[in-house]
Amino acid sequence: MRKVFTVTIALFMVIGAVLIVIFDKEFETTLSILTIKQNYQRLMTEGEKLSLTVYLSSEDSFMTDMNNIDSMYLFDNENEIEVGLSKISYLDYKEKYQDIDYFAYVIDINFSVVSISDFILELENAYLEIHYLNTEVIDLEIGDIYLNFADYVNPSYIDIDRMFGLYKTTEFEYLSAVILGMNNFTGMDIIIKKIETGNKEISLDLKHSIILSDIPDYQADIDDLLGYNYDAMSLTEATDGININENSILCIPLLYGNELTRINRFPLIITYLYNQTEYRYYMDDFQFNSLVLGLEANSGRIREFVYHY
C-alpha cells in the first residue's frame, strides 16, 4: 500500500512539474512587427512582384497566414492602390534585436487587382495596409516607392554593353559610382541629357562623370578615377550633358541627398538627344550587389508596428 502512495505522489509531482513548466511561459500579449524603410525603384515587367521583408516577434501568428488576409493596399498621404497577395514565406531566418527574437518573412505583392499600364506609381513614405478577415488592420511603414509600368521600346541608337558598380566604405559599404559601357550606333553625336533612377534622394551626377579609356577594376576607388575627393553629398549641379560620339566607358558618381544609404537595385532611364530629337533608353532595374538582410545592419531605418492581442 505504501508503495502505491509513493508512486501516486511521485506521479503527481512529475505532472505538477510539467504543468508548471508549460504554464510558466509568459503569455504574449503583444506582437511586434518590424520593417526596414527602403527605397523600391522598379521598372515593372508583366507579372512582376514586389517583395517586402518584415520581421515578427512570433513565429506562429495569424498575421502571416495568407488565409486570414482579406485585402492589401499601398498608400501614402495622397495616393492609394489595392494590391494582390502572391505569397508570404518564412525566410528560415531569425535575429535577436533589442533582446527579442524576430522571425523574417517575405510578403510578395502583385499588381493584378488594379490593371495598370503606362503609368508611374510614386509613393513617398509609403505604407502597406493589411486588412484581415477578423477586421483587424495593420499599417507597415515600408519606405519610398517608384514603380514604372511603362511599356517601353528602346530605339536602336544607343545601348549599354557593360554595367557594374563601384563601392566605397565608411561606416558601411555604399555604391559610389556606376560604370556604363555606352554604344553609339549612329556615327553621329549623341548627348546624354540626364539619367534617372526613380529615386529622388539619389541621383547619377552627370556633371562630375568622366569618360574612361579602359574598364576599371570593380574595386577601383571613385576618387582615384576622378583625380580628386568626390563629395557624394553635395548639391546637384546643372549640366548640358555628355557628348557620346563613339563607344565610351562612362564613370558616373552617385549623389546622395541627405544621407548616405545602402542602395542595391534601381533602373536607369536615360534621356538623350540625337539629331535634335529627345529619346529615352530604359534599362530594367539591375541588382548591383546583394542586399544585406538583418536588423542590426539597418538599425537606423527600422520602423515598428505593435499589435495588442
Binding site: 531566418y93 510578395d108 554595367m163 557594374f164 563601392y167 570593380y218 548591383f288 550587389n289 546583394s290 538582410l293
Partner: protein
C-alpha cells in the same frame, strides 16, 4: 610475390585516393579565386607534403576527440563566381527575355572536407559532421552573411548576334586545415576541412558580339 606487392600498392592507392577525395561545394567551381596573401591556398590545392606537414603538427596523441590545426587562417580572397546566366541570340531579330534570379542565404557559407571529415546538412544549416564542427567553430571565424531571399526579375533585350551574361564577383574569407580523431589514443579518422564565408557579392552585366 610480385603480384602480391602490386595488389597491395593498388589497394593503398585506392585507399589514399578515397581519403583525399574532396566533398566539393559551389565555390570550388568559381572561375577564379585569388588570395590577398600569396602563400595561402585552398584545400583542394594541398599536396600530400602539405597534408603531411599539417598532420605533423597534431601528431600528439589524445585520449578521445579531435585534434585540429588551422593552416590558412582568415585568409581574404576575391572571386569571380560562375556566370549567373548567359543568353545568346544567334538570330537576326532582337529578343526580349524575362529573367528571374534568386539569392540564397545558404550559398554565403560553404564548407568542404576531405578524408574522414564529412559535411552534413541539418535543415538549411551546413555543418561538419560530428563534434569537429564545434571545434572548428571555436578555432575560426564562422559567420554567415545573410542577404534577402528576394526574387529578382529582370527584363533584358538581346540584339541579333550578341550574347548577354550576368557574372558575380565578390569577397570572402577562407579558413582551412586538417584534423585527426583519436579514440583511446588511437588515430581513427583524419582529413582536411575548409570554410568559405562570402562577405560581399557584386553583379555585372556584359553584352558582347558573338
Amino acid at each position: 610475390m610480385k603480384k602480391f606487392y602490386i595488389l597491395v600498392l593498388m589497394l593503398l592507392s585506392v585507399v589514399f585516393l578515397t581519403a583525399v577525395q574532396l566533398e566539393a561545394e559551389e565555390y570550388q567551381n568559381y572561375q577564379e579565386i585569388v588570395f590577398d596573401n600569396d602563400d595561402a591556398m585552398m584545400l583542394k590545392d594541398f599536396t600530400s607534403d602539405d597534408y603531411s606537414a599539417a598532420y605533423k603538427e597534431i601528431s600528439k596523441k589524445k585520449f578521445i576527440g579531435w585534434r585540429l590545426v588551422v593552416v590558412n587562417d582568415d585568409e581574404n580572397i576575391e572571386f569571380i563566381s560562375e556566370t549567373k546566366l548567359k543568353i545568346v541570340n544567334n538570330g537576326f531579330s532582337t529578343i526580349k527575355h524575362d529573367i528571374s534570379l534568386e539569392t540564397k542565404e545558404e550559398t554565403k557559407l560553404q564548407l568542404s572536407a576531405t578524408g574522414g571529415i564529412k559535411v552534413s546538412l541539418d535543415g538549411n544549416v551546413k555543418k561538419f559532421k560530428g563534434s569537429i564542427d564545434a571545434d572548428i567553430k571555436a578555432s575560426v571565424t564562422y559567420n554567415t552573411l545573410t542577404t534577402s531571399h528576394e526574387q529578382y526579375d529582370f527584363e533584358i533585350i538581346v540584339d541579333p548576334l550578341t550574347y548577354v551574361k550576368i557574372v558575380t564577383r565578390g569577397k570572402g574569407v577562407i579558413n582551412n586545415g586538417v584534423g585527426n580523431y583519436y579514440f583511446f589514443w588511437l588515430k581513427t579518422k583524419s582529413g582536411g576541412w575548409e570554410t568559405f564565408n562570402q562577405t560581399t557579392e557584386y553583379y555585372e552585366i556584359i553584352k558582347e558580339r558573338i
